[in-house]
Symmetry: C2
Subunit: 132 residues, 2 copies
């Protein structure tokens, strides 16, 4: 059975307290910085569990590391992410869901999943950049 440990709870809370997506390494550092003696392997395991139970969302950063986030939306959704400050907006995309399902079926593909993320500069970062 699945047990409740303070480590798992710590990871869950740390993730909840983080605005954007964060890597396992970074979350581990943050926990250490706040005095937690949690081990790195445990953070990896906890994040993996959270992701597999749907309590956390994960995506691959453009440079290939896995990033995690505790999303407020429970169902399937996607993200609009500021590539500068990490600000993340959860978005639903019905038309995209339909499209993905349709295009897979059209080509005889089954068990289709999709990766859909939009990266950009948020309003604040756009302003900053304009000023620079």
């Amino acid at each position: 059975m699945k047990r409740n440990t303070w480590q798992r709870e710590a990871v869950r809370e740390a993730l909840d307290g983080t605005e954007g997506f964060i890597s396992a390494q970074a979350l581990h550092s943050a926990l250490h910085a706040s005095g937690s003696p949690i081990g790195l392997a445990t953070v990896y395991r906890a994040l993996g569990d959270l992701a597999s139970t749907g309590e956390a969302d994960s995506l691959q950063s453009p440079d290939g590391e896995a990033l995690y986030r505790a999303c407020s939306t429970t169902g399937h959704h996607h993200h609009l992410i500021c590539r500068n400050c990490g600000l993340t907006v959860e978005i639903s995309a019905e038309p995209v869901e339909e499209w993905a399902k349709g295009v897979a079926a059209e080509h005889g593909f089954t068990q289709a999943a999709h990766v859909v993320d939009v990266f950009g500069l948020c309003a604040a970062c756009t302003k900053l950049q304009a000023g620079a």
Copy 2:
């Protein structure tokens, strides 16, 4: 200046002769298997160059490795990929393009880019799996 070496040409040709997306490691193995003494670092460099000049498309596999493919479509497009055999179909996604642009604008995001890939089991692999 940029020089033409048989190594770069070998990588280009090997990529052209590959149906789906392939990793740098796998392409290097394939080249070796066919008798080429090309070095691994060179394959990485060549693929990186091809990707940056747009001659090849690249994406992050779900488990975080970079995959490359010589696409026939020159313009912007997306992919429907068999997660078992790698079979890849190039697809256009006008509705998704519109949606991505719109959702970014709605939230005040600028310089929006997007990652859109569909993974599934192709018809052949679906049949195989059913038989197993």
